[in-house]
Structures are given as structure tokens and as C-alpha cells.
């Protein structure tokens, strides 16, 4: 496989192109909630037309077939803008790469170009009320009935399901096997009869995610991703993409919990002369910058043929811990202004949103505890904890909400 790495001159030319394109085409402001989806789809289509969608994706599915160096250049430049790309992050970061890795030729060419052109929004249907960190104990059932699988069950914490056209669904197809080996991954049409999406409010008061119910939903047999009962392998593939995607996502420079914003906050509060505050800010910068450099290094290692693998967990874990540190810093700087503000003051609301987002970032996409285990077991080779349910047929387990 030959992927253009880009000489310094080529990358600089590419950067100039990205910069002038973004300047001309980035929306001036974030669209309202009602306008988000049409605006996001229009922007994604424009990105595709300009050749900036799927920069590292293969050409046969509509990507650009370029190296991570080009993606890095694009991400650096895009970080200066607040772009309406949020509805696509799960499709681009997780579902798309997994379909590309494991999907059939037909799945790749029928779904991936539509995703890149901004025609479809995707969500990931893994978590259940009784299966969070222990994803493999999920109970949503898929039963083969002629030319279709019939799905019944419930998912939860499903980000972007309210907008999604497709979902990557993990369901149990053989309860007589041990829990990890009776799962299958499907491409689910979210508009199919029997799919019900209900918004679920998080602790910030927003509803970024949903509960999804399946009531005799029929999925054609050719919508299996990978092999029947090999869904756990597919899930591991997707979770690997997820950790890299979450950990490596560049926050826009306007992020209120980023070092530069918190220095501004300290200036407004007149505390930059306080040695303790200066030290705190320096330490926050240090943690933010080393994580950024780690992500750059992982991309360079990928280009050199040594992809991060489980090391993506370092980025996921460090990112969650960084946000905790940032909200602590914000509170030390702004004191009670962090917890009470004039009605309509966007700055106060931003700080509160940061505080309310920190717990989610330590849980969503695999808890900090799970990331620690991944690093400990897969990278350092430490022994696993005893797993009492590894070899027992799922049907006989008492897990989650199953009362058998």
C-alpha cells in the first residue's frame, strides 16, 4: 500500500489550501438547534466536494487516500473554527472505520461514500442498562427468521440516535454460548419499523443521548458486519477506533476549559500575579500540551507502521483527567463566579457546562477504570482479574437485569 506521506512543501501547500478553504466556507456561527442537522449535512457535503472528507480513507469509498500527516494539517487548521461536524463524529470516527475494516465490499461502497458526503448520520448501539463497562453482557436479542434477523431489546446512552439514519448494533444471536462468543454486529436502519428513540437528559440538563427500543425490528441478513457470532471482535475493533477518536479529537480553540481560555479567565479576575495561580495554570498547560504531543507522536508512529493499538487508552484516560484538572483550575481562579452568574451570561454557563461534562468524560467511551485495565493488561501484560463468567453459557448467567 502506498500512501502519500507528503513532503514539507506539499504539506505546506495543502495547509494553505485548507486555510483558505475554511476561511471562505466555515459557517460564521454555530447553527441553532433546529438548524443543526441541515447545516451539518450541508457543511459535510461541502467538505466532500472540496476533497477534505475522509482524508485518510481509501479512495474506493470516496476518501482521499492520504496519510495521517494530511489529516493532522486539516485538524490543526480546523481547530481555529467551531464547525458543525458534531452529528458526524460517531460515523466518521467509529462506525465508518469499522465498516471499512470488516464490512463486505458491497457494504463499504454503499454506506461509506454516503457517510462522507454527509447524507447519513450514524450512531453506535452497544450500551444497555445492564451492560455498560461489561458490554458483552448485553441482552438485546436477534433471532434469525427466514431472510432477516428479528431484534428485540433496548439500548441506552446512545449519542446522536435522535438524528441517526443508521446504527452499528451489537446484539445477542446465541445465548447458549459464553457471553463474548454469542454476539453479532449489524448495520441497522434507524428508520425501520419497530425502532423507537427517546431522548435521555444528562446531568447538564441537555439531552445529547437517547434510549433506543427495538420491537420486532427486521434486519436483512446481508447487514451483518463481519461474521455471525463474531460481534465481539467487531466491537473491539470499533472501541479501538472510538478511543483514538475521542482521545485525539482537537477541541476548538474557543473551548472554555482549555489553557488559553483559563488564562483569559485569570486575567479577568486579576489573579495572574498570584504565584499559586500561575503555577496551577502552568501545570494545566503542561498536561494539556503533553497529551497533544502524545497524540502527534501516535499519528507519526502510525505513519511509520506502528499504530497505537491499546495505547489509545492513554489518550482517552489522560483527556478525562485533564478535564478534571481544568475545572479545578477554573474554580480556583473564579471562585463563586463559577457557580453563580447573571442570567444570560454565557461565560458562567460555559464554566458550569465544563463542570457537568467532567464526569461524563470519565465514563463515556469506557470508564477511566476500564482504560486503566486495558493499559495494565494489554500494554503492561499484568494478569487479568479472575473472570468467573468467561466460559459459562450466557443463558445461565445472572448479569445486569437478567434474572435467570
Amino acid at each position: 500500500m502506498s500512501v502519500p506521506n507528503g513532503s514539507p512543501t506539499e504539506l505546506q501547500e495543502y495547509r494553505d489550501g485548507v486555510r483558505s478553504w475554511l476561511k471562505a466556507n466555515a459557517p460564521a456561527s454555530m447553527p441553532s438547534a433546529a438548524e443543526l442537522i441541515p447545516a451539518a449535512k450541508a457543511f459535510q457535503a461541502a467538505l466532500f466536494d472540496a476533497g477534505y472528507a475522509g482524508i485518510t480513507w481509501p479512495k474506493d469509498v470516496g476518501g482521499q487516500g492520504l496519510s495521517a500527516a494530511y489529516q493532522q494539517v486539516y485538524s490543526d487548521e480546523a481547530a481555529a473554527y467551531e464547525l458543525p461536524t458534531y452529528p458526524f463524529i460517531i460515523g466518521m470516527g467509529m462506525c465508518g472505520p469499522t465498516v471499512n475494516d470488516l464490512g463486505t465490499g458491497e457494504q463499504r461502497t454503499s454506506y461509506l461514500p454516503r457517510l462522507l458526503r454527509g447524507e447519513d448520520i450514524w450512531c453506535q448501539l452497544f450500551s444497555e442498562p445492564g451492560a455498560g463497562s461489561d458490554v458483552a453482557s448485553l441482552q438485546t436479542r436477534a433471532v434469525l427468521d427466514g431472510d432477516a434477523w428479528v431484534v428485540n431489546g433496548q439500548k441506552v446512552w446512545t449519542t446522536n440516535a435522535q438524528w441517526a439514519d443508521f446504527g452499528a448494533l451489537l446484539a445477542r444471536t446465541d445465548p447458549d454460548r459464553p457471553k463474548h462468543s454469542g454476539l453479532t454486529m449489524f448495520i441497522l436502519d434507524m428508520h425501520a419499523p419497530g425502532v423507537t428513540v427517546r431522548p435521555l437528559k444528562d446531568m447538564s440538563g441537555r439531552a445529547p443521548f437517547n434510549e433506543v427500543y427495538f420491537d420486532d425490528v427486521r434486519i436483512p441478513v446481508d447487514a451483518v458486519i463481519g461474521q455471525v457470532n463474531a460481534g465481539w471482535n467487531a466491537a473491539v475493533t470499533m472501541l479501538g477506533h472510538e478511543r483514538v477518536s475521542i482521545g485525539a479529537t482537537r477541541k476548538p480553540k474557543t473551548n472554555p476549559m482549555e489553557f488559553a481560555s483559563l488564562v483569559e479567565l485569570a486575567r479577568r479576575h486579576g489573579v495572574t500575579g498570584d504565584p499559586a495561580q500561575r503555577e496551577r495554570l502552568a501545570e494545566l498547560y503542561a498536561h494539556e500540551r503533553v497529551l497533544e504531543l502524545f497524540n502527534v507522536r501516535m499519528r507519526q508512529e502510525t505513519m511509520a507502521g506502528n499504530p497505537p493499538g491499546a495505547r489509545g487508552s492513554v489518550a482517552k484516560l489522560a483527556g478525562a483527567l485533564l478535564l478534571r484538572r481544568a475545572i479545578d483550575t477554573a474554580g480556583q481562579i473564579a471562585g463563586s463566579d463559577t457557580i453563580a452568574w447573571e442570567p444570560g451570561d454565557a461565560r458562567g454557563a460555559e464554566l458550569a457546562l465544563g463542570i457537568n461534562s467532567a464526569p461524563a468524560s470519565s465514563i463515556a467511551g469506557g470508564t477511566n477504570e476500564v482504560q486503566h485495565n486495558i493499559i495494565g493488561e494489554r500494554i503492561l501484560g499484568l494478569p487479568k482479574e479472575p473472570q468467573v463468567d468467561r466460559d459459562i453459557p450466557f443463558r445461565e448467567l445472572k448479569v445486569g437485569t437478567q434474572r435467570g
Binding site: V263, A282, A286, R289, L293, R297, E301, H372, G376, I379
Partner: protein, 370 residues
Amino acid sequence: MQLVLDPEQQELRSAVRKFLTDQSPSARVRSAMESDDGYDRELWRRMATELGLLGLAVPERYDGAGAGHVERAIVQEELGRSLAPSPFLGSAVLATDTLLALDDEAARAELLPRMVAGELIAAVAVAEGGGAWDRTGGATTASRSGDAWTLDGTKTAVVAGDVADVLLVLASTSDGPGWFRVDPSASGVTRTTLTTLDPTRRLAKVAFAKAPATALASADAAAVLDLVADLGAVALAAEQLGGLQRALEMAVDYAKVRVQFGRPVGSYQAVKHGLADVYSDWEQGLSALRHASWAADHARDELPLAAALVAAYVGPAYFRAGTLCVQYHGGIGYTWEHDAHLYYKRAKSTELLFGSPARNRARLADRLGV
């Protein structure tokens, strides 16, 4: 920026690691640290002559290898792993960088080739109370009488100062700070080998009482100090990351085999998660080191911030690792016979060698314009 090593650099790492594993195992480290000189003279000779490590970041015209700071950081990482006592940091890093940054071609041409060959050890005497590097030269003063200079004052925490053949001293003059060369055997120079927390690296106090000195040419003595401090911080961080990595490996290896309550202790989440945090610190710190050493070679304008970053981040991270290394070895971890305490002590001593962590963070804040 280039944050991954090329094949040649990886080969250098393997060669140095193999050399130090073979030539400086724990028993050799311990006999060297207890010897009269406090370092392994034979190892030092072979590092210079067989491997050519002392002049990696020295131009070829002074008999150096003409490589760079990325390469030197690799050697420092490996020295940090092995804890091999040597004057490398004092002579091959601080003194070498000082000579290269000064404008004194005669001193360079005379001293550097002999330093590269391992025949002559030089040390930089700048720190005064608490280890702070004062850009003014501090309370050490240089007085002139005709062409002759004399120094008065005291420098401390001088790395390799006890074994140095030449001292490079920053002192204050009536015209501002200046660099001077002092023969440590001259009259008026008193050296005291300090008792150190870390037995693997000796530090000295050097007192000057009308000690004869030779002025070294430099357009901006304070700027030389800043550059030497930044390059020194990068080299020290490399050493710290090597030590951190080794302390982590030791703790991980032990946690895999030590059984308590019927299970290897590494299978308990409390232990596993602590080790995962150390690993996460190492991966991130290594990324910052690669950037800082790359900047030293290719982007000098990025060096001040990159060096302040790596100093502020890595020192405390190594000490956490050293602490956990002792902790996870349990009772065996705090016996003299086990090496864990040597890493713990090296971690604390390197965290404080160039001043306190608070000072490192304040320096970073300065460079960020906060």
C-alpha cells in the same frame, strides 16, 4: 516536528542499552557509587573511546560525532535506566553546552577534544542557595586587576564538581555577569564533596577565595546560561524518563509474580491502575522529551517553552514512579539490597537538582506569558 526515532537512532539506543546492561549491572553501579571517585572510571573510558558517546552533540571539528540532542537524549535515557554513575551530565552535557554557547574559540579548541576523548572532565559551577541558577552570577564576584581576574564566593550542587579538571563559573562583575575558567587545584579554591541523598551521583560545593580565574569570551553571559539551562533540562528529563521506565518495568515484573491472597498482586485493580498511571505519564513525558530534543536541534525558537514544559512535567512524574516502585515491591522494596531505593532517590534528587518544582512551574508560566 519529528517525535519518532529513525532507524539509526533506534540502533543507537539498542547499542547503548546493551553496553550498559552488560557493563553496568546493579553490582557495578553499587561498587562505583561506593568507590573513592564515586563513578566507574573504566565505564567512562569505554563510553568515550569505544562508543564515542561523550561528543554526540559536539561538532566534528572538535572531534565530536556531529549528531544532535536527540541522540544525546537517547544516551541520557539509557544512563537514567542503568543509574551508572558517571560525570556525563556535568561534563558531556552542561560543560560541553556552555563551551559551545560561549564565544571563546580558543577555550573550545583546547578543551572540547579532550572532553570528548574522556581525558578531561569539566563542570559548570552556577548554582547557589537552593540550587537556583542566578542569571546575574549571584553572590560570587569576579574582580579584575590588569588582565588578571580573581573570584570570591561559593557555588553549590556542582554536578561532577568533585572530579572536574576544569571549572566553568558564572560570576558577577562590575559590568554584569561573566563566565570564567578556574583550575580547581589552584590556590584559593576549596572543594567539598557533599553528602547526597542520591548515592549514584555526587555533587560538590566549591568555594573561591581570591581564586585565580581566566575570563571566557561571551557577548551575552546570561543568554549562555539560559541556553545551557534549557539544554540541561532536556538532558535531565531524558535521564528521568529512562529511570521512570526502568522503575515501571521493575514494578510490573514483580507484580506479575508476587502472589498474595492467592493471586498475583498485579491482578488487583489498585496496583494495576497505579502502574497504568505511571505508564501514561511515561508515554506523555516521552512525547514532550522527543519534542524538546527535536527543538534543540531543529527549532531553537521552540526550545525555551519545550524545555520548561518537559522540566515541569517529568520531574514530578519520575518521583511518583519511584515512590510506587518501592510501594509495589512491598517490604522488599525498602531494603538496601533492592534497587528500588536507588531509583526513588535518583527521582527525588533530579526533581530538585536545578531548583524546586515550584520554580520549574513558575519558569513555565513566565514563558507562557502568564
